[in-house]
Every structure is written in structure tokens, then in C-alpha cells.
Assembly symmetry: C2
Homo-oligomer: 300 residues x 2
């Protein structure tokens, strides 16, 4: 039962001519936002997204998902909304919600609060696994936009809201048509269909899910030693939300980049000859940078 | 991607000539006991046990396990002890600890507390799956002993301790050599090796993991409609712990049976002709009862 030693995001286990790939994650302190807004119908999408976006980095198709929902006293109405989000997330990922556990644990959680853990399993044929090994200097790095903060960095967001005395119900300074809370709780994008289609039709050398640690800490998880990535500043539009957090919290740009996705939710490394083909299938994939000799991520 | 509609415990997904089987569970309020005793090195065994004992009911061999560990502020020493237990549980289950997520969520958990969720995935050849369909009246029900309360019924245990003003540090009335707390925190038995060996060498028609709901609620999850099980009272030794809870808390016997495993952690249904063979491999498997026409579980 050897564990395959590839892949920066999901764990792999050989099974026949395939690898089974598994990922687990929670939603973190984004849940506090759901509690504060009393809005529970989209955190399930975040939950699914965090795990399935990890396993597709290996080229694996999500097969099934299980959830763990823990609370002090089960509120059926809240639970139904949470599960609805999980079902939506599974539908968007073309995977089965195979099961789950609802744990009622008096004394563990504050009234009205809960925690969530998600678990996704996928599979990829061994000869189709994305292991990053073929990445070389000169390869092109493409980005796919995030929908906002996704599910990482909420502790910092909350701190900035607090010190600036900004209400979740206040209109966004950059868009008066929605509230701060609405902007922040926007669910994580699920990249499953797009990434799997691109891998099947074009072939991807590396895929990175931008989670906690941002581009600087996540990109090196799939780039071979001796290579780095130059990310071209200005090659994508940093969402106003991040600019507001940065300015309002006086957050140094390095900290911003190591905490948030900055508008880039997922990146793909492809051979330069494949860029046109990728952008034909996914016109929203933008040129973000390139693989260079060296190491780490530089913003140039 | 159809979900196979068999199995009372784990979820099944067809994959080639196999089914993938997945289970998820937590440890529930047994964790409070770990907090009170400041003993964290065995709840990981419970965590693994709860999921792997579910998936072996289908004849599936556990392949890998992932854990979710959530706390307000990470205490590395405590986390290491918890993970040690998880590693022990995976070793006993011959499965890989493939990954996990440690979530630090300020404000979610009280100081020194944490929650755990576990996910196990196994596989079984389609023609070897234990689906209960061949069970018929006259089949023999064999039991395997539990090690105590396992991971279900702790809310009731805590209530009885509270109303009787019994300290976790007091010696057990039935065994002065150990404390109440030690007796209660005894980890859940992992039945993986025994059950898989018996299924491979002898063939099992049905397997039931006795969890919340006890025998009356778990046995019907694998027995076909139109059949029930007569459990012969006195055919196994009810551990003194349960007798103490029952007497001290004045808990009606029906409530005891629907809350606790009562000393029977797992049951197996076999053809009468196979009993001797089973008991040769597993001399500790005891005759617990038989399958009869009817429905539900009767204690006779």
C-alpha cells in the first residue's frame, strides 16, 4: 500500500491503472462570516471547492465527497441550508455526495455556530497524472480569476473590518449595490470542469490551487526544484476588495500576497505552444507569467 | 457516476471491478473525557476505528485515512499526541494516513479543546461485497466483544457521572486498580484484520458495527426486510461498566441497549455450517443469536 510521492496538494494511492487522490479541508473562519450574516447556503460550496480544487491539481476527476458537520445543538433549518450548498458544490464538481456525519456535541460550539470538514476523492489514470515533472524554464503560467477572498485570509479581513470599524452591512466602498458582507461571502470558484477539460483536450503540466499562503507559497508546491516563476504584476485585475483591505488595514503588499489569492484562484502551467489552444477553450485564462531558472515566486 | 444502493454503513461507488467504500465519523463527546483527563494519545484510535469499522461491514479493505483536526489555538504537544493515536489506529487497520487538515480557528473552540473528523476509504471486489442479501432465517449471529463504551453514549455516561457525583479520578467500583476515567477512555476496538480474514477465508453474509443506537438500531441496517434477529441474553458478558451505569443512573434496560454496545462491538452473520470454521480462526467470536422471520431485534 505505498503512498505515491507526487503531488503538492492531494494525497495519492495507486489503484490498478489509476491513482486515487484524496483531499480534505474546512472553510476556516469564513464560517464566522456566515454566522454574523446568518447566511448559510453557500459555505457548503466553499467546503466542496476547497477539497475538489486541490484534487484537480493532479488531474484527478472528483468521484465523491463526504462532509462532517459538527454543532452544539442541531438547528435543522441551518443544517438544511448548509447541506444545500454542499449539494450545489457537488453538482458543480460532477461528483457524488456519498455520505456525511452530523455530530451534535453539546458544549463544543457556541449557540448558532458549527464547524464543517469536507473530504473529496477522485481518480486519474496513472499516465494522465499531473505531477509537474515536465515543467521547464520558458513554460507559460496562466491564471484563472478568483471570485474574491475564497476561503483563506478571513482572520486578516476580520481584523481590518474591526480596526476600521466597518460593518458587514455597510455598502462596499467600491460598489454601493452590495454590502461588505455579500462581497466577502461570495463562494469559492469551483474549477473542476474547466481544468479537467483543458487537461483532457490540451494537456496541463502543472496546476496550482491558490489557498492559504497565496501565490508565493502555493506555486512552489508544484514547480520542480531549480525553477521559479515570474508573475507579471498588472497582468490581471486585482479585485477592489483586496485593494480596500490593503489600503484600509495598511497591509504591506508582501503580506497581502502571502495571505490572499489577490484575484488569481488557480494557475496552470503549459507548454508555450499550447497557450492559444487553452485560451480557445477557456478565453478567461490570462497570461500571468512564466517559468524561469531559479526558485520561488517573483513579482516583476 | 451512480451511487451503489447497498450497505447500511459506508457509501459505495463502483470503480472498475471494485467498489470504493467511504466512511466518515468523529469521536463525539468522548473528546470531553480526553480534555478532562488531559489524555490525548488514544482518541485518534477511536477516530480511525469509527470509520474503518464502518467500511469493513461491506467487506472493504481500508486503503487510506484522512483526518481533520480543528482547534482555537494550536497546541503542538496536544496535536502530536492526537496524531500519534491516529497513526496507531491506521497501523492497526493496515491503512495509510494519506493526509489531513489542521485548522486553527480562533473563537471556535474553548481553550484546550478541539474537534476531530475522520475519513476512511477502502475497496472491495464487486463479487466479494458483503451486502446482506443472502441472509436467511436460521443464519447464526456471532459477536465480537467491545472494549467498553467505544465512542457512543458518552453524553449519557457524563450525565450519570454528574448526578452520582462520581469523579473521573475515583477508582472503578468494580476494579480498584484503575480509575473511572481510564475505564471510560479505553479506545474503540479496531476489527479490521479479524473481519477481513474471516470474510476472505470463510465468507461473511453480514457485518454490523454497533455504534449509536446499539444493537436494536444497527442490526436492522444490514438484515433484509422480513427478517429479524433474536439476541440471546446472557450469551455474552456485559461489562461491569455498563452494569454500573445502568444501576447508578437507574437507566431502563431498553435505553441502555439503544445507547450502548453493551459489550458487543461488532456482529457477523454466517451460515450455520460456517460457525466452527469462524470460531477456529476467531475463538473469541461468541454465539450471540440467530436470524428469524419477523423484523427488528428481540432480546430473548
Amino acid at each position: 500500500n505505498p503512498k505515491a510521492n507526487i503531488g503538492g496538494f492531494g494525497g495519492l494511492v495507486p489503484f490498478g491503472d489509476s491513482y486515487l487522490v484524496a483531499g480534505t479541508d474546512g472553510v476556516g473562519t469564513k464560517l464566522k462570516l456566515a454566522f454574523d450574516l446568518d447566511k448559510h447556503d453557500t459555505v457548503g460550496i466553499d467546503l466542496v471547492a476547497m477539497s475538489v480544487n486541490d484534487i484537480i491539481t493532479l488531474g484527478a476527476k472528483p468521484l465523491f465527497f463526504l462532509d462532517y458537520y459538527a454543532t452544539g445543538h442541531l438547528d435543522v433549518d441551518t443544517a438544511e441550508k448548509v447541506i444545500k450548498g454542499i449539494v450545489d458544490g457537488c453538482n458543480d464538481s460532477d461528483c457524488i455526495l456519498l455520505g456525511g456525519e452530523t455530530a451534535e456535541m453539546p458544549g463544543f460550539y457556541q449557540k448558532g455556530e458549527y464547524d464543517l470538514a469536507g473530504f473529496a476523492v477522485g481518480a486519474v489514470k496513472k499516465d494522465k497524472v499531473i505531477d509537474g515533472k515536465s515543467i521547464k524554464a520558458g513554460d507559460v503560467v496562466l491564471g484563472l480569476a478568483s471570485s474574491g477572498v475564497h476561503s483563506n485570509g478571513f482572520s486578516l479581513v476580520r481584523k481590518v473590518l474591526e480596526v476600521s470599524n466597518t460593518s458587514l452591512h455597510a455598502p462596499c466602498p467600491w460598489d454601493k449595490t452590495k454590502s461588505m458582507g455579500e462581497a466577502l461571502i461570495t463562494p469559492t470558484v469551483i474549477y473542476v470542469r474547466k481544468v479537467l477539460e483543458l487537461h483532457e483536450k490540451v494537456g496541463l503540466k502543472g496546476v496550482v490551487h491558490i489557498t492559504g499562503g497565496g501565490m508565493p507559497e502555493n506555486i512552489p508546491r508544484v514547480i520542480p526544484k531549480g525553477l521559479g516563476v515570474n508573475v507579471k504584476d498588472g497582468s490581471w485585475k486585482v479585485p477592489e476588495l483586496f485593494k480596500w483591505v490593503q489600503a484600509t488595514g495598511k497591509v504591506p503588499i508582501d503580506d497581502m500576497r502571502r495571505t490572499f489569492n489577490m484575484g488569481v484562484g488557480l494557475i496552470m502551467v503549459v507548454d508555450p505552444s499550447k497557450v492559444a489552444e487553452v485560451q480557445k477553450i477557456a478565453p478567461d485564462a490570462f497570461l500571468l507569467g512564466e517559468v524561469v531558472p531559479g526558485n520561488g515566486v517573483k513579482f516583476v
